[in-house]
Assembly symmetry: D2
Homo-oligomer: 398 residues x 4
């Protein structure tokens, strides 16, 4: 058993930390108070720096133009980037593009690769992932109403999707739709690439979420697909393989997400400590109060525990594969999200009136990360799934 | 011991419930998506209805133009109104005006009464309460930096206030300022009425809170008082009486707040139940799931317990006075706020993606009510205060 | 709404408090370290005092030799008595006898009354209630395996019961058994009186619970009924009425239990406060520590909330009847038991090594009251039951 | 980063698991119901088997007659042994002997080694550790009242100790006493070896803890040292080194303890799962209930997180030393103990009436492990200690 982080990785992480401090945190206030669309000049300038530092697209294999980090290595990177809502975007490993890059790298045809993957990795275009539907429980990717029917050389897509993150401003969507309604449940759906300028791709609105509709990259789209036609060649991977691809996307995505949450936790934790050291109540600082001390200690323990669990899950995926690691992948989902929520909430409480204001990033974290306990399957669903898997070792009498 | 609600009150509550359903809930979506200032025509139309129903200003004595309800009675009204962010406003018993009406009714001179209280009760003007300061802990009303110095026939006020709720659009502020710095701590401050068009009253901004700066009534002002001069006659109550008036305002205010929170809880609870009955996961409804059932049962128990505690505190204030009831007033603060937060959070979780959207009022509740654990003294402070009072019966050895 | 406790009751409660301090607490250490059987001389001496004080059997109507207190009044008495494991026994209102007295008073024939109820109320004999079975979930009183079959003029009882509290030393048991297996589920069982010296009534053991088998009144019996024959006239109430009688016993019993738990809470809370005032850590007392203060304040709030809920439920039973109050009766079950467990646990923690020792009553409370979350239906079951009842107002679509 | 357990260790762990199932679990019921003293023939027979399997004293270096496992390796062993209250004893790595062996191995003179360490490692004698005092907070090893004064060639020891685990039947105690009252706080105490047959060593009682005084190895002694005289040569390590030795003992001891707790968790968890698979409520098994599923999943996650944290702390002690790992050592104390308590409690709840009986080991776990949150410093103290260390990086303004 060895918990060492290799020196090479430590050096990379240190570079990233410096970059975050100098280049990313300072533009956060702008992000908190303005249209996202107006930030692109600032973002692009920093993206160029990242490219020069050779830290671009850390999660992608080198042959695709990335750093080629392992899952565990990128997990550590994701932790640093997660400290700011803008971190991942600067390095081109932001959701949902990172996940789309992964499945394109694995499943795309040479033409798809050229047309979608190459510019995506280069940071020239953006994309979205169109799976969740308002009428169906998001926790179950086999419950879908959206259909794609073959008509000549085209798929004709109809359906209602929402929470297609960052759809606004995206050049294409990867859409999950029922293509084989007669097949067994897990083989009914396929993934199809849909350029967003296709007629019938209707971005109805950016869903106002926790008070903000947002715009551009910082948004969640509601989309009506109405007789939306794309060539049959836009199918990504084999027909009927939608569920498999979704799972492929989900496992490593869970690691990225959870380590991003660690970044949120670390940032919030440090802000809480700093505020506790500066705020006086009577003659004492908040840091002298035992309840605040307990919050600090418990948060440290919780974050530490969560971090080890995520890294262990990443290591297991790497060494034994996604299937062997499915319990660990479920565990971190419902273990880590509530910890993040608690740490953010405590940091806000320690900041008092300042904490609920938008003068710090904490209130943004509280709002933007609340869905963590919902998306990719509500925590409650994952608990039942894990338990059922465990209980296979304890069969009930017939 | 008797928990009966008299029939007269039951009839009033039933009228209010009907009014809320017919007139208030339907305009909530407008409130969630638009400038507040644009809502006044809708609000004023409904305020006229309320006046005609003779339910106007329920908390105010009849001689001031209100319904003259007792504290317990108004608590029950507040519970019904709290079900919507717009409820209290329709009946002219909204914070911070209601509290200002109370202290004006108790302390104002005949001229002040005529100029400020009469139009306030009539709903012709609005007001704000300017106590919290960014540099001082809000939990301790004796820690203030704002000063009011006599200069001839005027007070000259200087200081920095924030979270002066609804300052935007108010005609006057009640400002708490140090007037007697040499006095004992609890006799240093006074309350002074400051018309908001006074030079030196500078509303710097509406603080962006949990993602929204808001506007007009729905806002929290940051105010710089810079050599702001008002006549000496604008003093409210005796000089040095600021702390006493603040406490006078706080006790019944706590009851109003907490019962408003009950309204938030009841509304969220009902939405949770309804959603649980309608949302299918596989072949079952959410309501069939044991975890959801536990949330429903636990929420019901928590709300029921909180409600009894608040009504008991109100009853004790009425029968034994504020001083005798100060433990109960502290208890409900830290007992009820976390229950509200938990109930809202569970309702959101049951709604899934819909819950974090602004298509329901739940996300608004989650954001707007988060400060409940902070304002009027953080919960942690109240716990220490209560404990120290209890421990007077258990003196440590010398 | 009126939370006043009448002066007459206040005087009674004060008498009881004095008695508990002078006569009951001092013999607790003996109870904690010795056989129960050896305590009867001490108990009986005190029982005589209680009779002289005219506080005997407070829950029983005067015509049966009790004080004739109302449910709410006895609830307040039960709170005082619950402060010691020996309290109720001194006043002859201890479980399971008190419940048996109630159902005997309601359902017994004149002969049964003479033979069982009269000496029971007089405190000359003891009894047990034999319902729970090891093979069936105790939460559901209609799932029973024990049978009573008519054979000539006798019932022949066969079955396996456990947790028949205080069976050891009892003169009779009230046994719930299936008498009408073909009837609808709720009409299958009957209650039958079985003298414990009947052949076939086999007290196998006192179940060792949380480390102690105990003896005599302080025990939980496991009983095998093997061809146990009693006269048909030993049937209590109508045939097939077992479930109804069990429910009759349960409602007020829940109030008694919960208020007894309040007594446990109050005692533990006071011990926690006292210890916090006396124990020094470095230069400070535990009471000066903010976490301890939070425990004190939160415990006070929790106990206060629980108490109001129980009293409200008792009031509702009295004014509207058991059926109308069934939600409230369920709510207090799962709301109060965890509060008791938490308060005891915190008191132990504040006492440190002393708290886990048997030098105080706290460790006894922790062990003896752990089953509170299990008996009379596990808390989890009650939550589902309450939720299902609530959800009748929110029917799912067909 | 590598979480692999080497094959050699896996083989050892498998051997231990088999041994536990075949030889240890079957004699647990005897342990739960009888005097410990009567168990020695059964224990010694099994100890011989362990010696033959060459798994004896796994934590001790080979030169002392042990297996020479590393800290991480022994942690894994301790996890397996912890599954039964009898596990460690069979392998001669039970507290408090294991800790005494460690400090004797590090600090003893050749004579001490021969007289105390050799027979201790051989399993021929037992020992106890006499540090905690009833009048002083156990969390602070520098607050001691017991003194040892030099008188000629002897130490004269006076003081009052308690919770000297397993003192009953021990051949010697290691006593921590103030020898240098004028020195700086951390250099005032020394460790002294006291044979238990020394006049003035008075074992007053086995403290009745959570209902049981116990006996022999399974007990916690209260000891009065009254002019207890031992030769000066019984000093263990340098004079004034008591605190240092206590810390030396504590670090690895924490790992052993925490991994033992993991064993308790694993066992309880498995019992919970098995019971859930077998117990029917109506037509469903407990395992089909969503709340039980949530308990299973959450318990798995908690245990997994705790385990990784402990192993990481052990790894850090091994690679960077005790001083560098002191935060991690504190973290696991307060993180793991409540998890253990929660897992045991849930397992009991799932077992219902059976869970609170002594027919399973669960009730024993609940009682015997409750002190985990108290001994070696209450969790609350550790939280403050951790927080203060963290806050050194966030200095308050002067």
């Amino acid at each position: 058993m060895d918990f060492t982080i290799p020196e090479k990785m430590q050096a990379i992480l240190e570079m990233i930390r410096e970059f975050m401090k100098k280049e990313v945190y300072p533009i956060e206030p702008y992000f908190l108070y303005n249209k996202f669309k107006e930030m692109w000049p600032q973002i692009n300038a920093r993206r160029e720096m990242v490219k020069k530092m050779e830290l671009w697209a850390p999660q992608m294999p080198k042959e695709h133009g990335g750093m080629g980090l392992s899952l565990v290595e990128h997990a550590l990177v994701s932790e640093e980037l997660g400290r700011s809502p803008l971190g991942h975007l600067m390095f081109n490993c932001q959701a949902p593009d990172a996940g789309n890059m992964e499945i394109l790298a694995k499943y795309s045809t040479p033409e798809q690769r050229e047309k979608y993957l190459v510019p995506l990795v280069a940071g020239k275009i953006r994309s979205c992932f169109s799976m969740s539907e308002p009428e169906n429980a998001g926790s179950n990717p086999i419950e879908l109403s959206t259909t794609a029917v073959k008509d000549g050389k085209e798929w004709v897509i109809n359906g209602h999707k929402w929470y297609s993150t960052a759809a606004d401003g995206s050049q294409f969507a990867v859409v999950m739709a029922i293509t084989n309604p007669e097949a067994s449940p897990y083989q009914r759906a396929s993934m199809i690439i849909v350029p967003t300028d296709t007629p019938g791709f209707n971005l109805i609105r950016n869903i106002s979420m926790m008070g903000h509709a947002g715009d551009d990259y910082s948004s969640h789209g509601e989309i009506m697909y109405e007789n939306c036609r794309v060539p049959l060649t836009n199918l990504l991977g084999p027909e009927g393989n939608g569920f498999v691809i979704a799972q492929d996307r989900l496992g490593p995505g869970r690691i990225h997400h959870c380590m991003r949450w660690m970044g949120v936790c670390n940032r919030s934790f440090e802000m809480m400590c700093r505020r506790a050291s500066e705020r006086k109540i009577g003659k004492k600082y908040l840091a002298d109060k035992q309840i605040i001390q307990a919050w600090i200690a418990e948060s440290r323990a919780d974050i530490h525990a969560a971090r080890l669990m995520i890294l262990h899950a990443a290591w297991k995926i790497e060494t034994e594969g996604l299937y062997a690691a499915r319990e660990e992948i479920s565990l971190i989902k419902f273990f880590v999200a509530p910890i993040m929520q608690k740490v953010i909430d405590r940091a806000i409480q320690v900041h008092g009136g300042l904490g609920v204001s938008d003068d710090t990033v904490l209130s943004y974290f509280a709002r933007a990360e609340r869905p963590a306990r919902i998306y990719d399957g509500a925590d409650e669903v994952h608990k039942s799934v894990v338990a059922k898997r465990i209980m296979r070792d304890y069969p009930s009498p017939q």
